[in-house]
């Protein structure tokens, strides 16, 4: 029997009062896939994530999660199956890292009972997986950007989701943490059997860590496939309005994009022969 898609969008339409939004999105996400959603600002990346989370209700089309209509799944049920890592988390008062992580157990708590041993165990597990054990009792507000991002990730993992959504997980991180975060997420998809969908801005980082790319422009999907199919000069120019050169990454077998805003100066001719490293 073929596995049900984790999440499936059919002709999903959502328009904000300002006119922006999504216009007819068809997307089918299979278990274990790692998908990057790319597109210019305002192209609908965050809106798409919110529709999948059930925070925005599509005005047309259907969203189904594991074969069931999303609108018929209760919030608690959904929170046990799907989690989200926002770009940042602003807390109104001081919480320690472990207290934030424990919030991820909210969908499992009994109304009149606090966290039980199972909740504490899961929190401990995900903090180990995200290398947070030594930071457990530190106030969240005193952590660095990269550490905070790991705390938010751990909170999402404490929900024990099957689908993990991330909203630009590397946006506020320095290079070292960007790589660290994306490697961690890649590892987790394997160890925790997660399906991952992340909105991304950096096309090259996306090529490195995701095996499928969905390119959005003005609320519709203009390209969908492995990096080879999506990262092409004509596609990128059409969507982002910038000229780029696409070559191969010198170390890995993936496309590598270079900005070339001045197309009249053909640097590409010279560079094509200058690659010394051969992967």
């Amino acid at each position: 029997m073929a596995m049900k898609p984790v999440i499936r969008l059919d002709g999903v339409r959502f328009t904000y009062s300002g006119g922006r939004g999504l216009t007819g999105i068809d997307l089918c996400v299979e278990p274990g896939e790692r998908i990057a959603i790319l597109g210019p600002n305002g192209s609908g990346k965050t809106t798409l994530l919110k529709v999948m989370l059930g925070l925005l209700h599509p005005q047309g089309g259907t969203v189904s999660f594991e074969g069931e209509n999303l609108s018929r799944i209760s919030r608690v049920e959904l929170a046990r199956a799907m989690a989200m890592v926002p770009q940042e988390l602003l807390l109104p008062y001081a919480l320690t890292a472990s207290e934030v992580v424990l919030l991820g157990r909210t969908p499992y708590l009994h109304r009149y009972r606090g966290p039980v041993r199972r909740d504490l165990e899961v929190a401990q597990e995900v903090m180990t997986a995200t290398d947070l054990v030594s930071l457990a009792s530190r106030p969240y507000s005193e952590l660095s950007g990269g550490e905070r991002q790991r705390v938010i990730l751990a909170m999402a993992l404490a929900q024990q989701p099957r689908l993990l959504l991330l909203d630009e997980p590397t946006r506020l991180l320095d290079l070292n943490y960007q790589i660290g975060m994306l490697s961690l997420i890649k590892d987790l998809t394997v160890t925790h059997g997660l399906t991952v969908l992340a909105s991304m801005h950096d096309v090259n980082l996306a090529s490195l860590y995701f095996d499928r790319m969905v390119l959005l422009s003005s609320g519709r999907i203009v390209a969908d496939g492995p990096p080879e199919q999506v990262v092409r000069p004509d596609v990128i120019r059409k969507v982002f309005g910038v000229s780029v050169l696409v070559r191969r990454h010198p170390g890995y077998d993936i496309p590598w994009l270079t900005l070339a805003p001045d197309i009249s100066n053909p640097i590409s001719v010279r560079e094509d022969t200058s690659d010394a490293i051969n992967p």
Partner: protein
């Protein structure tokens, strides 16, 4: 903040101890002082257990059972209700300035009580006078109005609730003033209105406690059931929904509970300020931000503080009685400021 987490059992044992002490002090003090031994004997006898012969005056029994005990219990209930309502609204609105009255209760109850004092006959149902009943109804109606006004696209967000609450409070407040100006000869009753607005525990009839008591106790237990949602709201409304909180339902539940607790408190206590604002803050500084602790701890500390303040209000200028709201503000304010200056940066709101 890490250094200020005490084991739950120690905290609750301490708070229960404090509350019991406050209750005993509250019952002992007054125009006629009663000894703890006499109090214990009278209480036991009233539930059918006798400890030796009657050694006290008959008046003592009347004072204890019909005046002081209802009054002290009333103060405790009102204090607990206001503090828990403060916790609920601060958590829901994610705002440190929120108090039990913030979304309309005070002005709604105030204007209704003022009008009742000016035009309604002093009828009473189950021991509640027309002013108390009007205040209760006025407070709930105002909250309902705010909740409806704040509903945009089928849901009420904390920000719109806060704004609608401020607007309704202001408009209703002036309506109350207007009604005082408009009614001929209202100067005579003005003093009553202002005394009521400053707050004072008024339990004239044990039946009042039988109505308000269960309402407040059940309300506090239900408020404890909202603790997980209040905790989750720390990550924002969308964040809480992603964590499994059914936002619309929980917002409605929290508002309803907060309004009921406040209304019940107002119906026997008038508008006692400051307590509902300060108690949750003080406990957040001492116990950390977990609402599972804040709700029960606030109930106990709110009760303790108001019992003591009410005792002082009866005692300080005896036989005259001062509005208890003056004491909650004058005693609570400085204590609150000291704690805030000492610990505020570390574990308060940001």
């Amino acid at each position: 903040m890490r250094t200020r987490r005490y084991p739950a059992l120690t905290v609750y044992a301490g708070l229960v101890g404090l509350l019991l002490c406050a209750l005993v002090i509250g019952v002992m003090q007054g125009a006629v002082a009663l000894s703890p031994v006499a109090i214990l004997k009278i209480l036991l006898r009233s539930v059918g257990m006798s400890l030796g012969p009657v050694t006290w005056e008959g008046a003592d029994e009347t004072i204890l059972l019909e005046l002081r005990l209802p009054r002290v219990l009333g103060a405790g209930l009102v204090g607990a209700a206001l503090a828990v309502a403060g916790v609920l609204f601060q958590g829901l609105l994610r705002n440190p300035l929120a108090d039990p009255y913030i979304i309309g209760t005070s002005a709604g109850a105030g204007v209704a009580a003022t009008v009742a004092m000016l035009i309604l006959p002093p009828a009473s149902i189950l021991g509640f006078g027309s002013v108390a009943l009007s205040a209760f109804a006025g407070g709930l109606l105002a909250v309902l109005l705010v909740y409806r006004l704040a509903r945009v696209d089928g849901r009420s967000s904390p920000v719109t609730l806060l704004l609608a609450g401020v607007v309704v409070n202001t408009v209703l407040g002036y309506l109350g003033s207007l009604s005082i100006v408009l009614f001929e000869g209202s100067e005579f009753r003005l003093r009553h209105v202002f005394t009521w607005l400053m707050g004072g525990i008024a339990v004239h009839d044990l039946r009042q406690l039988l109505v308000v008591g269960p309402m407040i106790v059940v309300g506090i237990i239900a408020a404890y059931g909202c603790a997980a949602s209040l905790n989750a709201l720390a990550v924002g409304e969308e964040g809480a929904q992603i964590l499994g909180v059914d936002l619309d339902r929980e917002v409605g539940r929290i508002i309803a509970l907060g309004a009921l607790l406040t209304g019940a408190a107002v119906s026997i206590g008038g508008l006692i300020g400051f307590l509902g604002l300060a108690v949750p803050h003080i406990l957040r500084l001492l116990l950390g931000p977990d609402y599972r602790r804040l709700v029960p701890a606030s109930a106990m500390v709110g009760a303790t503080i108001l019992v003591l303040a009410d005792t002082a209000a009866r005692f300080v200028a005896a036989p005259a009685e001062l509005p208890v709201g003056i004491f909650t503000a004058l005693l609570g304010g400085p204590l609150f400021l000291v704690l805030l200056r000492r610990d505020g940066r570390e574990s308060g709101w940001r």
